[in-house]
Structure formats: C-alpha cells, structure tokens
C-alpha cells in the first residue's frame, strides 16, 4: 500500500469520526421535534410576570411615572438577563441580528397612553413598542 493511500484512508477515518460527532456538538440545526417546547414555556412565564405587574399598576390608577417604575422593578431580573443575552447574541452576531432592547421591557402599557405615531405617551413617560417574536412589548424612551 502506498504512503498516499495510507494517508488518505486514515484521514477518511478521522474525518468520519469527526463528522458523526457534529450533531452531538450542537452544530447542526435541530428540529422542533428535538428542541421541544421549552423555549415558549420559559418566555411565557416571564411575560406573565410582566403583565401582572402592569395590571396592578392600572388597578391602582397610578400615574404614568409610577407605573413605569414598578414595571422596571418587576422586570429588573429580566433586564439583567436581557443584557447577558444581548452580549451573548452580539458575540455570535452575524449580519442579521435584531437590535438589543434598550431598557427593561413591559408587556402592557399603563392606562391612558396616547399614540403619537412614533411612541406612546403615558403622562410624562414615553414608550416605544418592539416585537419579541410575535408579541408586542414596550420600552421606555426619552421624550421625542
């Protein structure tokens, strides 16, 4: 057997071993049938928390600034996670990445907000809507 053939055979064997391991390393896109429904479960649990907070604010008829503060408190942990997520996403960023959210998000606006065409004005506080998947969420922004 020539040296060339030996090298080719061994290389083929090693390549086969490596290729068959790619799936277990998570480098191949997976089907929903593999991933399951955990993604949506985790997300919805977080959103329930956000919605409850906003509802409490509305029930108390708090002013817009107070509502924003409570929402921010309720979502503080989510904000930290979001910043970590944004950092992780940026590390893996390709050309097609959505912008990271600028501040903590809420899922329900306080009562009495007005659509200005660019943002929602809630008293002295302004919110911009975003799409998280198919869900509309809101972040506080400076006055336009």
């Amino acid at each position: 057997m020539s040296k060339l053939i030996k090298v080719v055979v061994i290389a083929a064997g090693l390549a086969a071993l490596f290729l068959f391991d790619l799936g277990s390393l998570g480098l191949v896109p997976e089907a929903e049938a593999i991933l399951g429904v955990r993604r949506r479960t985790a997300r919805r649990t977080a959103i329930i928390v956000g919605s409850a907070s906003a509802a409490q604010v509305s029930a108390a008829n708090a002013n817009a600034a107070a509502a924003q503060q409570q929402a921010a408190d309720a979502n503080a942990a989510a904000a930290t996670a979001q910043q970590q997520a944004a950092a992780a996403q940026q590390q893996a960023a390709a050309a097609q990445q959505p912008a990271p959210a600028p501040t903590p998000m809420i899922t329900t606006l306080p009562t009495g907000c007005v659509n200005t065409g660019q943002v929602y004005q809630c008293g002295d506080v302004y919110y911009k809507p975003y799409l998280q998947g198919t869900t509309v969420v809101y972040a506080q922004v400076p006055a336009p």
């Binding site: 429904v37 479960t41 799409l131």
Partner: protein
C-alpha cells in the same frame, strides 16, 4: 506494512465509518421511518403550497400549573424563498411576509410593523426566525428541505400507532421518542402524504408541556397573485423593531 497491519487499519476505518452510524441508528420501526420519509419527500417536492394550522401550546407557570394558549395561522410558501402568513392569537393579528431578502411583520391590532434583513432561502429563514427572532413557524419542521434528516436525528424509538381520522382525513399515526422530546405525527394516507397533526411533548420538564398543531386546508398548487409576497407598509402604521430573545434566560426583552 504487513498484511496484518493493513487489515487492522482497514478494520479501524470501517469501524470509524460505520460504527457511529450504527450507534445512532434509531431503534425505530422501519415502517414508521418509511412513512415519515415518504411524507418529507413529498413535502420537499412541493414548490408552492398553502395550509392552515390551529396551534395549541402549553406553558408551565412558576407554580407548576400548565396553561394552554392557542393561535391560528394560514401560510403560503413558494420555494425556495417566499412566504406569506397570517397569524391570529386573540391579542395579536399579524401579517408576516418574506420576499427572499426581508422578513416583515405588520401587527394589525397595534398598527405597527417591523422588518429585518433575512437569509436568502426558506430553510435558513426558518432557523433564523426561530433561533434569533423567536418566531416559531407552526409545523416548520416539515417545511425544511432536509426535514427527514432533522426529524430522524437522535431518535431513540419509533413505531406506527395505527390509523386515525383527523378532520375527515384518513391518516397513519406515528410516534417517536428522542432523549428529550416525544413526538407524534399523523400523515394522510393516499397519494398526497401530507401531515395533518403534529404533537410535541417535552419530557425533561416534570409538567411535560405539549405543542399541538392541526394542519388543514392543504393546497399543493395555489394560485399566487402578483405582488403577493411584497410587503406593503400601511400608511398609518408605526415602525418598530425586533428585539432579542434568549433561549436560556427566558427573559422578557
């Protein structure tokens, strides 16, 4: 090199090539795999098609309680790079358009829209939508051109459950398991082996939440009007953006 050495190398290489494949061969009924592959091959052969889905998914609250949510979607697809869908869940009512370059959403209930540069083919778009935007296409697994490869990857078992009738369609029910997810699929009998129901059960959560899709109104040759895949921005709509979704943290973002 001796004959023995040469033989040993040959055997090692054969093991390297065949061994992992044998180890990963699912302990699944070949009949079930054959029916699954017939469906994915047929789906892969369709160039333009439309369907309606009724979807139920379960969330597990912090208390452990399970809550079900529902949404409906109507989807039209033209391979290799066009999609238009309407999605309704009671709170949001959305038009989703992918034209091969941009993915755009108009959210009717809030009168706002967002667009983002997307991959240039449907397969990559589906992965991008799910993994980056958290837009999980209903029954998206079946639309992928390498659906069989992905669906059969990591199977630990599979068998033919039997015949069933879903929405008046006689079909064959298959059940599979993977290390984390149990899934079932109902595939129409006859010359159009289309999926009509799809159920995922996540087993690594004690509550075992499920996702269920009922797929109906299949049209394997729909008429596509001119401009159907063009996203037209409604005059009054507010422009917005997509934000990240993190799988691990499950955070609101």
């Amino acid at each position: 090199m001796t004959t023995v050495t040469r033989s040993a190398i040959a055997v090692l290489c054969v093991i390297a090539l065949v061994g992992p494949a044998v180890a990963e061969t699912p302990d699944a009924d070949p009949d079930a795999l054959q029916i699954l592959k017939r469906m994915t091959d047929y789906m892969g052969s369709l160039q333009t098609f439309s369907m309606h889905t009724e979807n139920t998914y379960e969330d597990v609250l912090d208390t452990g309680q399970k809550v079900q949510y529902n949404y409906a979607s109507s989807v039209v697809i033209s391979r290799p790079d066009k999609l238009r869908a309407e999605r309704m869940d009671g709170q949001e009512n959305q038009v989703i358009v992918y034209d091969g370059e941009m993915l755009s959403i108009y959210e009717r209930s809030h009168d706002l829209y967002a667009g983002i540069t997307a991959p240039d083919n449907l397969d990559d778009l589906l992965h991008f939508s799910r993994d980056v935007l958290d837009l999980v296409p209903p029954a998206g697994d079946m639309v992928l051109t390498n659906a069989y490869e992905l669906l059969s990857a990591g199977l630990t078992s599979g068998f033919v459950v039997g015949k069933a009738v879903i929405g008046g369609v006689i079909c064959t029910q298959l059940a599979f398991t993977t290390p984390v997810v149990d899934w079932q699929i109902w595939i129409a009998d006859g010359d159009k082996p289309l999926p009509v129901k799809y159920v995922l059960t996540t087993r690594d959560d004690p509550a075992q939440p499920q996702y269920i899709a009922l797929i109906s109104n299949w049209n394997t040759d729909p008429l596509i009007p001119a401009g159907f895949y063009e996203f037209k921005i409604p005059a009054t709509a507010m422009e917005t953006e997509f934000v990240f979704f993190d799988v691990d943290s499950g955070s609101v973002e």
